[in-house]
């Protein structure tokens, strides 16, 4: 089981704009309060599975092949905060929109925190190994249509109640699927950042000369 711990405020604030500003006392109280509500609603679930490479159904498109180049296995991971968080955000959108956006951004931070914790488990399970960063269906030319096979490979609908809709959107919405390559050799640093990002033309951070941190 994975338990959520205090969430990274800077990360949440970046999702809420205002990266150049320190939050005032009201904002800090709002964050604390919303975090408590989020933790009350979240039921974190996660799964992972190691696939030996090459794996035909997974290696669709050039980008994922590059990403996993030199890796002997791929870890498929998925994580979700559960359906209650979506409900909490729905309710807050009706009763208090400002809280809704704060809980929404904290929830995004929370699901990444679960992914970090899954990675820690992987690192422990594969000592003396090297790992790529997380690569998700929908990045580059790695098709988002793989979501369904990806989830069914992990038996995610039955085991943690995570599925995709007909547009390949994950439901519950505060969820992540990703692939991590595992290698016995050091991995050449892969390109991350704006140049390979799908959102580079419209990104709010870029517009203001900032960076999302990825």
């Amino acid at each position: 089981m994975i338990k959520l711990e205090t969430l990274d405020r800077d990360e949440a604030l970046r999702y809420l704009g205002g990266a150049k500003t320190d939050p005032d006392e009201n904002m800090i109280n709002l964050l604390n309060d919303c975090e408590a509500q989020l933790f009350g609603a979240a039921k974190p679930g996660y799964l992972y599975k190691i696939l030996p490479l090459p794996c035909e159904w997974l290696l669709v498109g050039e980008d994922i092949k590059n990403h996993l180049f030199g890796c002997h296995s791929a870890a498929l991971i998925c994580a979700t905060l559960g359906a209650e968080v979506d409900k909490l955000i729905r309710v807050k959108q009706i009763t208090d929109m400002s809280r809704a956006v704060v809980i929404n951004s904290l929830a995004s931070v929370a699901v990444e925190q679960i992914c970090d914790k899954i990675e820690e488990k992987l690192f422990a399970a594969f000592p003396k190994s090297y790992f790529t960063f997380r690569y998700s269906p929908g990045y580059g030319d790695f098709p988002i249509e793989l979501q369904k096979s990806f989830l069914s490979e992990l038996d995610a609908p039955r085991k943690i109640g995570l599925s995709a809709n007909s547009s390949h959107i994950l439901t519950p919405s505060k969820s992540v699927t990703a692939v991590i390559g595992i290698s016995s050799q050091p991995i050449e640093a892969k390109k991350r950042g704006c140049a390979v990002c799908n959102l580079r033309k419209t990104c709010r951070y870029r517009r203001n000369g900032e960076h999302c941190g990825f």
């Binding site: 704009g17 309710v91 009763t95 400002s98 109640g161 809709n165 007909s166 419209t202 203001n208």
Partner: protein, 794 residues
């Protein structure tokens, strides 16, 4: 087949164990879909069934668990082929043994609305296809369900396309709920009301951990229970389960006292488990279930037992409410949801839902409102309409067991409404009136109540599920009528043994100080045995009277509820400060009360309302927007400022409408997240800002059908439409929506040009793409949406 007789021929009915575990162990090869083995290796599948029958199974589940159109999409076989083959394999194994072959149906694999986007009606179609394909099976089993809504669609599909017995089991987590938050009692109440033959638990946990779930189910139903547990938990490395056959049988036997009748195994079990179960059960005695003590209604996550006065909130009803009517006409669901949440916060335990209005499609609205309320609110609902087709639409899409409001003593009502109540599994309010109107005397009303109860029982509805409303008449018109109502109520309660219901507020019509009359009448009625007062819970004297009554009549033990309702109540708000707040800084600081006070002060000083809007509110909002653009403030602060401005704006609206002037609206704008997309927070932020700049937003929600957008624009003559899409996969849906807007003749000028300005936004959109799909404007954020609206509508 007489399933009851089948169940009764032995003390316990043995089910089979896992199919998946057997397939895995055999090493049989298949691509993603194990059900294809029904066709590629029929002998193998049949041999598993035979092994279970030899071990003692009375019912085997065909290998059809995942055989639905979604999961089979790329496997090369149709649903019909896979299911027919699967059922045939099971039937062949059963031949000559007396065992039954069940069509086994699991979840579709996509989440239903509201957590997901699969529509209830679409889920029904998936199940219908499976049920028709499996017509040769002896019974239908739904298992491993985690969503009661999906299970309801499945049960309805079975009831309407087959006459086979139905067994339904759900999967619970260690916290006693399913993934979607369904409680065991809500599952039991709803499935029992829907008329399935046996209910219970499968998969989930090991049998050693199921006692709390089974015991809660047992308290809520008289149906025989099913337990088909996992063999404990799998070891993450070896995938071996940790409960061995002897221990498994021992743990299951410990659950028999709750009325468990059908027993088998799920993941990790094999014929050995079934064999041990058979041996262990030889020494056990079946404990038949009895009817639960109290009548209950529920949503998936909340069960309300009618074992004392329970407040039904009356506010979701357009009668006499101008704003509510306007919200219905404009499809403004958020307004209705606000009413729902505020009533629950004020103490309502059940919400009455009435959306009758001559200018709208009441049936479609009832479906939409019920689904929307259930997406944000746990309270069970009372579906209220005078039209049977509206009641049916509501009953069909309701998740849980609702109340129907209402049937009455007229023949037409009895013969149309009661069958619906029975079919969809509800409780019903019975009004004591008939073709002759409302009888003047208690005796007359009692006679009608008796007739309603008899007719309900004749179609199989228990009298426990009939709540009689003896009707409140206006005391200022007929002073004696109050006593007749109360006396009829008393007789219904004591002589018919029915629960009672009463709309209270009507009593005081035409009198001053209505709340005093209402709360006094309410107290009198409670003392006569009123169970379900339909009141405005926001009126403190009304909900307070019910809470106090519960204390005084010993229902609220140790006054726990009463104390928690009042002890922590905040002190009375401080009187408004005399000093005039400064409007721009109140808006900038997001201070609602101060903004309201400031506007009030300005209006009292005789400042022109439009001047306040255009020279103070809007510039203050602009400043906030600019600072947000420059990353000087955070998004929640922008929204708080918008809400503060909204407070000010509301006061101006009231002032103008009191003065009889035309309302301030700078024009209507439709907002929607496109079909297939369920992300709506961005769209809602845009809505808040547009609202506060004085535009009248018609919010159609998320995952919106393109035709609804076109029709709404045409019917309400709306010239500006904002569309949001967050995913690359839903952009085609945005393109399609724009195409339909441009193609519809109603939205074109005589020269063929478009009347509608379309603006679009969302994370994956670019200005270039927006132009390509035919949008007029691309707005990168909420602020730019406002700028665009100013440009287009002024």
């Amino acid at each position: 087949m007489d399933f009851k007789a089948f169940l009764n021929k032995k003390p316990f009915i043995l089910l089979d164990g896992a199919m998946g575990t057997m397939i895995q162990k055999s090493g049989a090869k298949y691509e993603h879909v194990p059900e294809t083995l029904n066709i590629t290796s029929p002998e193998l599948i049949e041999s598993f069934h035979k092994a279970y029958i030899s071990a003692g199974a009375d019912i085997v589940y065909a290998n059809t668990f995942g055989a639905n159109a979604y999961k089979l999409a790329e496997c090369g076989y149709s649903v019909e082929e896979i299911i027919r083959a699967g059922v045939a394999n099971a039937k062949k194994a059963c031949k000559g043994t007396g065992a039954l072959a069940a069509l086994d149906i699991g979840p579709i694999g996509m989440l239903l609305e509201p957590a997901g986007s699969l529509k209830f009606e679409e889920a029904y179609e998936y199940f219908k296809e499976q049920i028709i394909a499996g017509a040769e099976a002896d019974l239908i089993v739904f298992e491993t369900m985690t969503d009661l809504y999906e299970l309801k669609a499945a049960v309805l599909a079975a009831r309407e396309n087959s006459d086979k017995p139905i067994v339904a089991t759900m999967t619970f987590e260690r916290n006693g709920r399913t993934f979607t938050g369904v409680s065991p009692s809500a599952a039991a109440i709803t499935l029992t009301a829907l008329g399935v033959d046996a209910i219970g638990v499968n998969c989930s946990l090991g049998p050693d951990e199921l006692e709390p779930v089974i015991s809660e189910m047992s308290d809520a139903t008289a149906l025989p229970l099913v337990v088909k547990a996992n063999a404990g938990l799998p070891d993450p490395n070896s995938n071996e389960y940790n409960i061995l056959p002897d221990r498994f049988a021992e743990c299951v036997c410990a659950l028999l006292k709750y009325g468990v009748k059908l027993i088998g195994g799920c993941c990790g079990t094999n014929p050995e488990y079934i064999e041990r179960l058979r041996l262990a059960l030889e020494n056990e005695v079946y404990q038949p279930q009895s009817e639960p003590n109290t009548v209950t209604i529920c949503s998936p996550s909340k069960t309300v037992a009618i074992n004392g006065p329970r407040i039904i909130g009356e506010r979701i009803n357009p009668t006499g409410k101008k704003l509510f009517k306007q919200a219905l006409v404009e499809n403004n669901i958020d307004y209705i949801l606000t009413q729902a949440i505020s009533q629950v916060n004020a103490g309502a335990e059940i919400l009455d839902v009435n959306v009758g209005h001559p200018e709208i499609d009441e049936k479609a609205m009832m479906t939409r409102v019920i689904k929307s309320i259930q997406s944000v609110c746990d309270a069970p609902l009372q579906i209220d309409s005078t039209k049977p087709e509206v009641l049916e639409a509501g009953l069909r899409c309701y998740n849980g067991k609702p109340i129907v409001n209402s049937v009455n003593g007229e023949e037409k009502s009895l013969s149309t409404v009661l069958p619906l109540v029975k079919k969809y599994g509800a409780s019903v309010v019975g009004l004591t009136l008939d073709e002759g109107g409302i009888p003047k005397t208690a005796e007359g009303r009692f006679e009608i109540a008796k007739r309603i109860v008899e007719r309900a029982e004749a179609v199989g509805i228990s009298r426990r599920d009939v709540f009689i409303d003896c009707l409140t008449l206006t005391v200022s018109a007929e002073q004696d009528a109050c006593r007749e109502t109360l006396s009829a109520l008393h007789r219904v309660k004591t002589e018919l043994g029915c629960k009672t219901c009463l709309g209270v507020s009507n009593i005081s019509f035409g009198l001053p100080n209505r709340e005093l009359v209402n709360s006094t009448f309410l107290t009198m009625a409670l003392e006569e045995g009123l169970d379900l007062p339909i009141i405005n819970p926001n009126a403190q004297a009304m909900s307070g009277a019910v809470r106090a009554f519960r204390v005084l009549s010993g229902i609220d033990k140790n006054s726990v509820e009463f104390i928690s309702a009042y002890n922590d109540a905040p002190a009375a708000p401080k009187p408004a400060q005399a000093a005039k707040a400064d409007l721009p800084s109140a808006v900038y600081g997001g201070l609602k009360n101060e903004a309201a006070l400031a506007v009030d002060g300005l209006l009292k000083d005789g400042v022109d309302p439009m001047k306040i809007v255009n020279e103070m509110l809007v510039p203050a909002l602009d400043r906030v927007g600019e600072d947000f653009e420059k990353n000087k403030i955070f998004l929640p602060q922008l929204i708080q400022s918008a809400n503060a401005a909204q407070e000010g704006f509301e006061i101006i609206k009231k002032h103008i409408s009191a003065a009889g002037d035309a309302p301030v609206s700078k024009g209507k704008i439709i907002l929607a997240t496109v079909k297939g997309d369920i992300h709506d927070i961005g769209k809602n932020i845009v809505k808040v800002l547009l609202d506060n700049y004085g535009y009248n937003v018609v919010d159609l929600g998320r995952d919106v059908d393109p035709q609804l957008i076109v029709d709404t624009a045409a019917e309400q003559n709306i010239k500006m439409v904002g569309l949001s899409a967050l995913m690359t996969t839903t952009l085609p849906s945005m393109e399609e929506t724009i195409r339909l807007i441009r193609a519809d003749g109603r939205l074109q000028n005589p020269d063929g040009s478009s009347k509608c300005v379309v603006f679009v936004g969302g994370a994956v959109l670019t200005p270039e793409y927006s132009e390509k799909i035919g949008a007029d404007y691309y707005c990168r954020d909420a602020k730019e949406s406002v700028d665009t609206a100013k440009k287009v509508l002024g």
